[in-house]
């Protein structure tokens, strides 16, 4: 295969490598000889372990990406950001309430937001980060929770923020408050948990557990399947 592939030059932490042009940054670094310890996680865009900053030769622009989700480009200068010394406040979810000032009380630096939108531009998930920071500032916890939902906590927004806000940790607080106190628990879940606790299903399950394989299989093959509606 390699004979047909076009190569590009990348610089990993300043070191120059020739790599096939169709690899992701992560696979290109491995191709070049790197074995990840930090900086590789799910390898599928679900965990944020491989937050990466890069600049392409000739451009002044510093860009953010997940190494597992970005294909290499000619002249890329690459640095991974595998850890972020970010502020994460601790709180008791049973005691905090989603009041209009809750977010700013817990993360006062939210009010330093300059509305420069650098966080949004840095986000590899294309989340409207500045918009949820602003929603948090206004005390609109519902909006902050919804806008931030796809966040992988990769940390690139916080690294780039000139006001030193840590948007993703604030967003986690917003989502937990929204889920627990505003969206609220589902009644049928609570009811069913109580019914199990009361032993309502003990007998039915015990019956199945004591059944021989053959009648059990018959029961299974002929069970009522109702997955519509």
């Amino acid at each position: 295969m390699e004979n047909n592939v076009e190569m590009v030059t990348i610089h990993v932490m300043g070191k120059k490598h020739g790599v096939p042009n169709d690899l992701t940054i992560m696979k290109a670094m491995e191709y070049a000889g790197h074995q990840f310890r930090r900086g590789s996680g799910c390898r599928g865009g679900y965990c944020g372990a491989c937050a990466t900053l890069y600049r392409v030769k000739g451009s002044y622009k510093l860009e953010g990406a997940l190494a597992c989700q970005k294909i290499v480009e000619e002249g890329m200068y690459i640095a991974q950001i595998p850890f972020n010394p970010a502020e994460k406040i601790t709180y008791d979810i049973e005691k905090v309430r989603p009041a209009v000032n809750t977010m700013v009380e817990h993360y006062p630096e939210l009010s330093r937001c300059l509305s420069c939108n650098t966080c949004t531009k840095a986000c590899p998930q294309d989340i409207m980060v500045m918009d949820y920071v602003q929603a948090s500032l206004r005390g609109d916890i519902t909006q902050a929770a919804k806008l931030s939902f796809d966040c992988l906590t990769c940390g690139l927004c916080a690294v780039r923020c000139p006001a030193e806000i840590v948007p993703y940790n604030a967003a986690t607080l917003a989502r937990r408050l929204y889920a627990k106190y505003i969206d609220g628990p589902s009644k049928h879940v609570i009811d069913r948990a109580a019914a199990v606790e009361a032993g309502e299903y003990d007998e039915g399950i015990k019956e199945l557990m004591e059944m021989d394989k053959e009648p059990l299989q018959k029961l299974y093959e002929n069970r009522d399947v109702n997955i519509h509606g």
Partner: protein, 550 residues
């Protein structure tokens, strides 16, 4: 991307055209599910588990004679990466009540419940090979099962699980899983996990392969990520101690034969540390990165089966490791994301698997083993697959149907992750199908436990994917998310109870010497070492020229 621009190579256009042409008439059409005999036949003929030359008999230890994939036997019939004589057990770095190895859904849940059961947060230690929360748990897309809808019940859930697992499950483990299910969802909601809801505040539920009810709770297609994110936040809020980039490599036992902690390996500094613990919970996850039969995998970078060999050397019983789950739909194109998960929920919401002629060839929601076998048969038995530029075969998964059936915007709303990831590589799944092929997804077997998560060795508990027996020889979608929290919580409670009463004896690594003797006795000569900790993806030239100078 322009409307008329395809994300696929030009030579696939003819097949894609057939997909488009047949789409309208396929809406609302299904395919007859297979009967018991047809299922047995297709599994025997096409499921990778039935390729007996891909397995061999284990020659060492108390499960000697068990059939397992070569890749698993390779890590079991191997020397430890440490030698007992090189480890100083008198210098204890961490002295705790409860040691938790692995920080995915099971480990995090265990930590929270150990604390709820009266263990001080600084007497709990979570060690994690990579970062907190870096685990397969986080990658779960489609959802988590729990029988909480009025038209469903734990009894119905039980039957689905045990039938789906071909009656090989341990019934008592299935019982506690289905009964604890609603309580787990309730617990998540109390912690602030944001589940998808209907207008009336009830759960939005979807079916999965082999489920007889809509039972799948979801957080868009970031279900595992959302739950893990909340549990991590809670562990940090409670100031439970954890240490990242630190992998357990072997258990430590005491002179009474109890597990009494673990030897840890600092992945940053290449030195070892000693953790002594009154109770130890193994929650290391699965083995996808062993690439069984060279399959691509959906699994996390750290899924190298470390827990299997650590537990076996310490004397734990293993179960069902002959059986591996291949998820029916992994990415087959583009090359950059080959093997990655395309959630079963896509089929639950209407996407259909199609062959090169645009024909639906299987009921889309068979159990995973049967569905995967049908895809393999279509490609290699009937030669009706689509060949990719690198020679891999796959079938179409017709995703545009999802928006046609459920309304425009459904894909963007419910499959935000899928849509985003494919868009990055040039394919709009709202307009074009995905190209898919089965991918290595889950370790069905593992360490045997009881309902208290106790293994056969005092002091050693296990929870999560490292456990065998819950799902039998085939797991249903959404039940591994559920088992993480059911058994993670139970392990935390049971380990905390033990830690309050137990006295440890003198620490020992004698079991490692004993294992060496066993290898010798069986005549196993090898230079393999395990656990392997990280998969090897470096270029050939690097490996050929590698020097270990320091």
């Amino acid at each position: 991307m322009a409307d008329n621009e395809s994300g696929y190579p030009a030579y696939m256009a003819e097949s894609l055209k057939k997909v488009v042409e047949t789409r309208a008439e396929r809406v609302g059409k299904s395919f007859t599910p297979m009967n018991a005999q047809q299922k047995t036949d297709i599994l025997k003929n096409f499921h990778p588990d039935w390729k007996m030359d891909e397995k061999r008999e284990l020659r060492v230890g108390h499960n000697k004679g068990a059939q397992m994939p070569h890749e698993v036997v390779d890590i079991i019939e191997a020397h430890s990466i440490i030698k007992a004589e090189n480890i100083d057990l008198s210098n204890i770095d961490y002295d705790v009540d409860v040691l938790i190895i692995g920080a995915g859904g099971a480990g995090l849940s265990a930590a929270i419940l150990a604390m709820d059961s009266g263990i001080e947060p600084d007497k709990i230690l979570i060690v994690q090979k990579l970062r907190l929360g870096d685990a397969n748990s986080k990658m779960s897309q489609g959802g988590i099962q729990a029988a909480d809808h009025p038209n469903d019940s734990p009894t119905i859930h039980y039957l689905d699980v045990i039938g789906g697992g071909h009656y090989s499950n341990k019934p008592e483990l299935v019982e506690v899983m289905v009964k604890d299910g609603p309580e787990v969802i309730k617990w998540h909601e109390e912690l602030g996990v944001l589940y998808d809801k209907m207008e009336d505040g009830s759960m939005q539920l979807a079916p999965g392969g082999g489920t007889s009810r809509r039972r799948m709770h979801s957080c868009k297609d970031y279900t595992g990520m959302e739950i893990t994110r909340v549990l991590m936040d809670e562990v940090i809020n409670r100031e439970i101690s954890y240490v990242e980039l630190t992998s357990a490599v072997e258990f430590i036992k005491d002179d009474k034969g109890q597990v009494a902690g673990a030897v840890l390996y600092d992945m940053d500094h290449d030195d070892y540390k000693i953790a002594r613990a009154k109770a130890t919970i193994l929650a290391t996850g699965g083995f996808g990165r062993l690439h069984i039969q060279k399959f691509e995998t959906t699994n996390h970078y750290g899924s190298t089966g470390d827990g299997i060999i650590m537990a076996y050397r310490a004397g734990a019983d293993l179960l069902h490791l002959d059986s591996t789950q291949f998820h029916p739909t992994g990415s087959a194109y583009p090359e950059q994301i080959v093997g990655q998960l395309c959630t079963e929920k896509l089929r639950a919401r209407g996407a259909q698997p199609l062959n090169i002629d645009g024909e639906l060839f299987v009921y889309p929601l068979e159990t995973r083993d049967v569905e995967a076998s049908a895809l393999i048969r279509e490609c290699y038995g009937k030669d009706k697959g689509i060949t990719t530029p690198v020679g891999m075969k796959g079938v179409w998964l017709d995703t545009p149907l999802i928006d046609i059936i459920n309304g425009e915007g459904t894909i963007e709303r419910e499959f935000a992750a899928m849509h985003r990831n494919y868009t990055k590589f040039g394919i709009d799944i709202r307009k074009e199908p995905m190209l898919v092929f089965p991918t290595l997804h889950y370790q069905n077997g593992g360490v045997e436990i009881n309902v208290r998560c106790e293994t056969n060795i005092p002091g050693l508990y296990a929870a999560g994917e490292i456990v065998g027996g819950i799902h039998g020889k085939n797991r249903l979608m959404g039940n591994s998310q559920l088992d993480l929290y059911v058994f993670g919580k139970r392990a935390g409670i049971a380990a905390a109870e033990r830690a309050k009463t137990i006295e440890l004896g003198e620490l020992s690594l004698k079991h490692l010497d004993d294992y060496e003797e066993l290898l010798k006795k069986e005549g196993i000569e090898t230079d393999r070492k395990s656990p392997i900790l990280l998969p090897e993806y470096r270029g050939k030239k690097t490996l050929d020229h590698q020097l270990k100078l320091l």
